[in-house]
Assembly symmetry: C2
Homo-oligomer: 229 residues x 2
């Protein structure tokens, strides 16, 4: 497929001229990864960053005992691995393909010279990093100040939001991965889902379908003004 066409669909490159897209196209490299393949490891040297073209990528940390904390799951159109492009040189976390995935790779030095001659690109990247910072701010708040039911409630509400505000949700990741995203383990997640079911906040088919029964209740759980019995 035509690279320039694909570049147009990437939000980071919105508002750039055709000439800019051509320059970007000239430095990009395509990469493919199988499910579970490692894209980079923490502390690896990062000499460029990636944009997801298809598939999904998780960026995560691992503890000494093997517990995983997912920092972010990236889908189509989203860039990741930019930190070492601008500061330091090594990746701050691990990245792995969650399924068959295709990426664009932009080498550091070429990209930096583009950004220097291109204020819109710089502004887009600043906006991107700022949004990322805002997300992390919320993640820290969740991990430090909320308990698992609150984090789960917030996640379910978020899922509902991106799925047309419908009360009928479909989990897009395994429960093990959701646990890792929420900073807990599958056993705890399982227990809390069942408590939320018996207390009629949600209804679950036991698999990947969940129906929200009490949206206000979930919001109260998410904000910490209410707790499970």
């Amino acid at each position: 497929m035509d690279i320039a066409k694909q570049l147009e669909t990437i939000p980071l490159f919105q508002g750039l001229s055709l000439a800019n897209h051509k320059q970007l196209a000239s430095i990009v490299a395509r990469k493919s990864y199988k499910k579970n393949q490692v894209i980079f490891a923490e502390a690896d040297d990062g000499n460029g960053f990636y944009v997801v073209i298809s598939g999904r990528v998780k960026v995560f940390k691992i503890s000494h005992e093997g517990k995983e904390q997912i920092l972010h799951i990236f889908s189509s159109g989203e860039p990741f691995g930019e930190v070492p492009v601008f500061a330091g040189e090594h990746f701050p976390a691990h990245a792995q393909a969650m399924e068959e995935t295709k990426l664009f790779f932009f080498p550091r030095t070429a990209f930096i010279s583009l950004i220097k001659s291109n204020p819109s690109l710089a502004m887009n990247m600043l906006a991107m990093l700022s949004r990322r910072l805002r997300r992390f701010t919320n993640l820290v708040e969740d991990l430090s100040l909320k308990e698992v039911p609150g984090r789960l409630s917030a996640y379910l509400l978020y899922l509902s939001e991106i799925q047309n505000h419908s009360p009928h949700l479909t989990l897009d990741i395994s429960k093990a991965q959701l646990a890792s995203l929420l900073g807990t383990i599958p056993e705890t997640l399982s227990r809390i889902l069942s408590r939320m079911s018996t207390e009629d906040f949600i209804e679950s088919d036991g698999h990947r379908t969940i129906r929200i029964l009490d949206r206000d209740g979930l919001e109260e759980l998410a904000s910490g003004e209410r707790r499970l019995a």
Copy 2:
């Protein structure tokens, strides 16, 4: 004091021309805050960002029950509150002066036009945000994957590093604030400090002086390969 002189000492503005410094000087506003005074609150509209000139500022989240998590403590020369300049419009967290503090304030629109015409400034800001992202990455790792002794050990080693790698440390904040920075409460911090003393990792005068007795041990605690007895 001369504003242009002060601007030169701010890392974010390193490598800029004299003309740039003059432009910056023309948009900056000075602000002063007393100890504990609020600088901005979460969800406030942010129409500019700040740089610490003297004093210290904490940026933090608060839970519904009143528990505080410090995200960052900013000292002289460091910018904060940039996120709403580039993405969204409201501040993601609260900011408060920890002591008598003087700040520079840069209004959003004027700063954005400066950055657009000034690649070095854009690059400096990108580097700044990227470092911030890296820090948050570590904070998330600490909160999710390490226990309090590990976080405290990492903090002590960090303190030692910025204090000339000396084993003689001086805490620069109260223990209550340190607890909030580590994602715990004063009681827990106190107990763990005393365990680290009885197990001869450190020696403490009970106040703000700590001596590192077993640096390797602290490193093992910080990485999770060892735990307190």
